[in-house]
Every structure is written in C-alpha cells, then in structure tokens.
Symmetry: C2
Subunit: 493 residues, 2 copies
C-alpha cells in the first residue's frame, strides 16, 4: 500500500473537523549558503537555559532503593542522544527522532505489523493520544464500540466529540480461550445493526476501542483466535480497531496454587530469556494481523517508566499518523522534551550494559530486561494477592470467584450470590462496598466502569482492585483479608 | 463577583462543543477509616519507577558555563517541594499545587488583577493553552480579532475550530505612545461592524487576541493608555481579551546611541533593584485593568526557562479556568510532572539564596532575579544588533528604519523605498529576501506573518530577525552587516 492508497482508503473515516486543520508555517525551503546565520526562528539560545546538565540516579530493579548507576545529560555531549541543547529546545512535533526510532524498534520487533507503511507519533500520554484520535475520526454522527466495562474516562473522550459509545458484551471467565469480547454478540450486533431497536437510530460503528490484554477493569486478555475473529469482522464491516495497550508488557507468569509465590521471572531453574518473554509470554498485538492498516495501537511509558512523564506513542498507518500529526501541530505540539530526554537517556544507559549487534539492539535489550523486572514485580504482587484472597474464610465458603488475570494491574473479584438476588444487584454491591470501606479497603465497583449500567447490570457484580499501588506485600495481604471479612459480613447479615 | 455571577456573565461565550465535555470520575467521596488501604486507583507504586533521584546542574547566569549549584530531587525528600514519588506519579490535572501556588504568586505580585475571583491552570506550553481556549470559546460562527501581524500558528489554532480571524490595523512606529493596535481603526471596526462590507457576513467578534508587549513579529508594545482604551472598547462591545505574553519579562533597558552597549541591568552605578524592574521596567498586564474578569492571560516558561519543557500557564476568572480545566480532563490531563518538578526544584534552589519573609517570597525573588539576568542578556544582544545595523552603509543611506522594540526577542527592519515602488511590494521583498539569503542570513518576511496578506500589503515591507538564537555577538554583528549589504545590493540594482 502506498500513502496515496492509504489516503484513498481511510479518508472517509475522518471527522468533519479534520479539514479545518491547516497548520501555518512561515519557513521557506530556500537553498542557502553553508555559513548561513539563522535569525529567523524564535528560539532562545541554549545558553539562556538555567540548566546545563542533569544526572539521573537509576535503580537496578523495582523496590530496590540502592543506586545502581547514574545516567547523565549534558548541554551538548552525546549528540547521538538527547543533550539539553536539543531536548530543552523547541523540537519536532512528532517527537525527537532518536526516541521515535526507538519506539519504532519496539513495535517492529515485538509486534511487527503485517504491512510496511506504518509509523509512530509521540503524545502526552495515552489520554492525549485518545483525545487526538477521537477528534480525528469522530463527529456527532459517529458510533464507537467498546468493551462493556472499560477505562471509563475514555467514554468522556469519545463523548467530547459528540459521538456515541455502544458497549460490546464480554465473557467474564477464567478460561483463556473464551475471556473478553463476546464474538457471537459482536457478530450479531454488526450483522443486524439497522434492525436492533436500541441502536438503529445510530450510524453503523466505524471503530472498536479495545484494551485487548489485561483489560481494565476486568483483567481479561483476548486470545489470538478471538483477535483473528475480531479482525475479520473489522474487515467485513470496515471498522478501525483502536487497541489500547498500557498493560500488555506486564504479563504474569502462570499462577501455581500449590506454590503460590512461584514466579517464572525469578525462578533460577528456568531463567526466562528475553526471547521467551517476547515470543511465549506476550500476546501479540492486533497489528501483527493487520494487513489493511486499520489498527491503531496505543503504547505508553506511564506503566513501564512513570505516569508523570506524560509520554506515550501511537502506531498506525502512515496516512493516519499524518492526520494525527497535523492535529498535533495545532494543539500540543511536541511532548515535554524533558520527559523524552529522561526516558531516552535512561534507555541508553540500560543499553550500555548489553552486548548486541548495534546500539539500538542493545537499547532494546536493556529496556526489555527492565520491563521484565517490572513484570516480575507485578507477578509477585499478583501471587501475594491471590494467596491472601484464597486463604480467606469467604473464599473457602465460595462467596467470591477471582477472575484470574494473566496480565496487568487489576484483579476482579466476582460475587457468588448464595441465592440469586431478588433485589437490585447494584444496591447490594453498594452495600458490600460500604462494608469493605468500613473494614478499611477502597476498591472500585464494576458498574462504575460500565459503558451503560443498564446494559451490564447483570454482570457488573464484581470489585476491581489493583496490585500496583499498595505500599508492600503486608499491606496487600491485609487488604485481601479485610475484603474477605467484608464478604462474610455481607452474607451473614 | 461570585462564581455564579461569573458563570452567568461568561456562559454565553462558550462554544457549542463545551457542553459535550463531561469528564467521568469513578471515585466516591465515601468516608473511610484512617488506616484505609487504597486498592482502587490504577497508579503504579513509586518504587516501580526506574529513577530514584535527579540532580539539576544550574548556572548562575545566561552564557555562563560554570556550574553554580546543584538542585536535587529525591524520591521522597522535601515533601514541600515536588519529590519524584509525586512528580513522576499521576497528578492533579490543573498542575501540582506547589507550582500552581507559585504561578499565582507571580500573577498576584506582578500583575494583580483588578478583581478577586481569578485562578490559574497549567498547560503544555502556550500553543496548548491557545488550542484549549479557542476550543472552549470558538465555533464555526465565531470571529476573533487579532493584530494584523501575529504569531501565525495562532491563526491555525483559531481556524481549527472553524472560526474566522479578522486583522486589526497596527501602527508600526518607534513612538512608544502610538505603537501597536490602531485604536481609531479598532473603534471604527467595532462601532460599524454590520455595515463594513468585507465583515458584515461574520458575527461580531467576541474575542481580541493580542501580544501586547514585545509583539511578535513587530516588537511593538501597547502603552498603558492604549491598554485602557482597548479595555474600554472590550467592555462596551463585550469582548474577551486574550493576552499572550511570552516576552513581556524580557524588557530592554533604553538604547543609548552614544553608548550603544549601555545596559541598565549590569550598570554598576545604577544597580537596578527587583522593585525597579517590576514597577518601572515592566508594562502592566491588561489584567491589572480587569474589573470584569474578561481578560485571559497566557504566561509560559518557554522563554524564561526552556521551550522543551512544554510548560505554561493561563490566568483568568474562575469560571473560565473551570471550563478550561474541564476540557483538560478529556484531553492532555496534567502537563509533564518531570517538567513541573524541574521548574519548581530550580525555583526553590534560586529561592534558597534569598532572604525574605517566607519561602514563597524567597522563591519569587530568586526567580525574578534570574528573569532579570535573562532580560539583561537580551538587552545586550539588542545593543549589539542595533550597533551593528546602525554602522552599516545601508542604514547611513537611509535604506531602512529599525522599528526599535522595547521588549522581546524580535527586531523588525522596515524598508525605506527610495521611490515608492510601482510594482508589487511583496515581489520586491521576496527579491530582498533572496539577496539576504545569498549573503548568508535567514530572516522572516513581514507578509509571512500577516493575518490577511492583502489587508496588510502596504505595511508588510519589513524583515523580522531574532536576537535570541544566534551563537554569539560576533555572529549577530556579522549577520547585521550581511543584511546591510543586501539592502545596498537591492537598491543599487
């Protein structure tokens, strides 16, 4: 596919507002002599910045407070990297090239798209990515499909354009082959759109938003087979797939109830290699199936580095990236150069410890090893949490089921009602929540993350908890015990 | 004015799209016991970040390569400041409170609004500020007035909403009382809007965008008297005033042709105090006249710290800030915490060297002293540039006039045509530009920064050059001499 073919195929997806975007440039492309003095651009000289160098004190692994090494940025040093004269200056709207190239390396190695004309664009975090994508594709007349439970702020991102969100039924099950988007439901929805009473007044959807791995809030991961089926439906009904993947790298090693603290990442008898992690542990992106260029993938440094950086990236076909870049020119322009430099300098430092064919390979290797250490830390916290939940009286009495996730930050606890509730489930869930808060734990109720609370009223009887934020193992364990007590209190009332 | 009164007064200014913005939150406000364990928020623990501390190596003044001191951020230290556990975490969308408070201190001390119910909001640079403001106030039916020459990317920010930009005639003169927006023209425009043929199909303007001090590209600064007149017109015709002020602090000391390198900032016999600088050198913002809450002021750290931070702030009445914050929730959310922490930590370090009533006063003092050092560096570069321009043969032959600016990064050179050109001025300017490029200098042509090139065809015969970016004095001097030669070549052809 050439850029022109992509343009022809995907222009019809653009929002009405996309055409208003005509960034103005006042730079000429005139040829100039080599000793040209540039007095045209409104850039401050880098010697007007109060900072001349920055040292980053890095740790070797999560929860290790020892300083492992120092990565430094000077004003001009290391022109291959992002020295301060560059990163603290105005810079390329799409992101600085060294970091862009690294992001391309990650996509191209871990989730190589099934076509060639793809590109990446940095953004100010995935919230910013989504805002820009929905603004570029959605109008008041647009319908966007999304999992019935989702990261609810996305709903407001869609609604900000005037568009409508429609939920897709999910299978909330521990069976890895079945969990996530209900394919039969989705097929029926798309095949019969115009005759379904509650949706017939809406345009046929043009986009599916999905958190395909370690879904928020459910922790569900779509199997490759389900991904293939969804991609085929997207082809048949000409949908874009917006794949949000903040948690995909945080893949847990399998849980072993007999040895609850077993962790493949740290198991010395196994020694999980980078290759094993990439090929066997991770689930492949929709991009790897994407022969048409219809997948937009969202990656972020928020969970793998730090959220406060507000740094993320978008991978998509070149035409889509061009439209998003065009929008970025009239909105935020480049993301923080300080954030970009901190990430890039850290990854260069991680790479400097690796042996590889070239510097980029070394950086990739160093970065993935860091990410594996994170996945290991999350696996350990998952282990601690499961162990603590499974040792409660409430679990032994079958008051709840843990929807065991295979990746991510979230664990959902599904209520097993002793007798099917006759009253309002939402009311009972709210009561359970009050008891749990009284016992000293704060969680999120399923229905709070439903696209449509009525649509999901039957399946919203779960609690979402995160293993990511707690201070330590003891706090996680104590919280699980308190949750267990809450269930006992509710069901003994 | 209460928030409700502001809401009543300013709701009618909101764009149609403002009402689509309903950020979704899933946090309850439930009361909880003091030992509550929070498993609800999807935040990674700060020990999952690879960085535990950052050192900033700071200089004492611009163009000084010596390290003056080191300012450090640790993971938890200094909870009054912005430790990494906080700044690298998800944080308040409006900006972290310590930095917000500092920004309020700056506005409240330097340009105290003439009413009480104002507030500030951080953004990802002034381009982002403007995008959010125009999206909140402009629709396809909106008309925005702006100086006929302006920072041209703003035009695309306005047009992105579908709105229309209309130019205001400027007086391009070295007379400080007269320069900038032509008040008679503006008055006539507003009084006769519906009967002016070229504008009668447009709605009456609801906003003026102005770079009131050290205007880009003209370098003009509006006198206080002109500001009062414009504010009175805004009151009469119910306009918002969007005051963009990236350069206002970069105020030059007066130029002395007899002692061209004289610089009040460094003149030991004068010793300019912070008080002198704030009260006598700076021109007061429209906010100081604003009894109604109709002024929106844009400040930025781009020119005073570094552009790559992408960090700026907006000051306006509380209702407007609330609407902008609401939009920010569905777009970028918080600006880079790394950028916020770098700025705040630096300012804390600057403040630690000052003696003052409290820490905030000390920080303000330390910051303003840094800003004065910048203004001094810009004054020196202005001096070097004027001196070099005035010693050219072209100047001595009266081929050009320097539109002497009193602040900012830009100097405009107005062409003095020996005989009024009969042909197309734009064509002649393009010819001059080609000659100057051939001689080895790149500048910007006036018409490239015109809102409407036809409207400004008579007055666009100037070149804009910046003193900010050149490597050193020698390069600035050489560039000015080359420009002079260009004029001689053009007029001797």
């Amino acid at each position: 596919m050439s850029f022109e073919e992509l343009k022809e195929r995907y222009s019809k997806f653009l929002s009405r507002r996309d055409k208003f975007r005509n960034p103005i440039s006042f730079w000429d492309g005139d040829l100039a002599p080599p000793d040209l003095i540039g007095l045209e651009v409104g850039l401050p000289n880098e010697n007007l910045f109060p900072i001349k160098a920055i040292d980053l004190h890095l740790v070797d692994k999560p929860f290790d407070d020892k300083e492992a090494f120092v990565a430094s940025m000077d004003r001009y040093d290391n022109p291959e990297g992002l020295p301060i004269a560059r990163s603290f200056q105005y810079s390329e709207t799409r992101g600085m090239f060294p970091l862009i190239n690294f992001c391309k390396k990650v996509i191209g190695t871990v989730n190589k798209p099934a076509y060639d004309e793809w590109d990446v664009l940095l953004s100010n975090g995935s919230s910013d990515s989504m805002f820009k994508i929905f603004e570029t594709f959605c109008d008041e007349s647009t319908t966007v499909l999304m999992e019935e439970f989702t990261f609810s702020p996305v709903i407001s991102n869609v609604q900000n354009t005037g568009a409508t969100c429609v939920p897709i039924k999910m299978e909330l099950t521990t069976d890895p082959a079945k969990q996530g988007i209900d394919i039969a439901y989705l097929t029926h929805l798309l095949e019969n759109w115009t005759t379904i009473p509650q949706y017939s007044h809406l345009n046929k959807p043009k986009m599916i938003y999905t958190i395909a791995t370690g879904q928020n809030p459910t922790g569900m991961t779509l199997s490759m087979e389900k991904r293939r089926q969804i991609y085929a439906l997207a082809q048949k009904h000409d949908l874009l797939i917006l794949e949000d993947d903040p948690y995909g790298y945080l893949r847990f090693s399998p849980y072993d109830p007999v040895h609850p603290l077993k962790n493949l990442y740290t198991d010395e008898s196994h020694s999980l290699t980078v290759e094993d992690y990439l090929q066997k542990m991770l689930v492949k992106s929709f991009m790897t199936l994407d022969t048409d260029g219809r997948v937009i993938r969202l990656e972020t440094f928020s969970k793998l580095f730090a959220p406060g950086l507000r740094l993320a990236y978008i991978a998509a076909n070149k035409f889509i990236i061009e439209r998003l870049l065009n929008f970025t020119e009239v909105t935020t322009r480049a993301p923080s150069g300080a954030s970009q430099a901190i990430v890039y300098t850290t990854i260069m430092a991680l790479g400097s410890k690796e042996t590889a064919a070239d510097e980029m390979d070394a950086m990739f290797l160093g970065w993935i090893k860091w990410v594996m250490k994170l996945a290991s830390a999350y696996t350990h916290r998952r282990n601690v949490t499961f162990k603590a939940l499974y040792e409660t009286e409430a679990y032994k009495k079958n008051f709840f089921t843990v929807l065991e996730p295979s990746a991510g930050m979230f664990i959902d606890i599904k209520v097993n009602w002793p007798t099917p509730p006759t009253g309002d489930k939402k009311e009972l869930m709210s009561q359970l929540n009050k008891i749990i808060i009284k016992n000293g734990v704060k969680v999120v109720l399923g229905h709070k993350m439903a696209v449509d609370q009525d649509f999901s009223s039957d399946s919203a009887d779960f609690l979402r908890l995160t293993v990511a934020y707690a201070k330590d193992e003891d706090q996680l364990t104590e919280a699980c015990h308190r949750i267990g007590k809450g269930f006992v209190e509710l069901f003994n009332m």
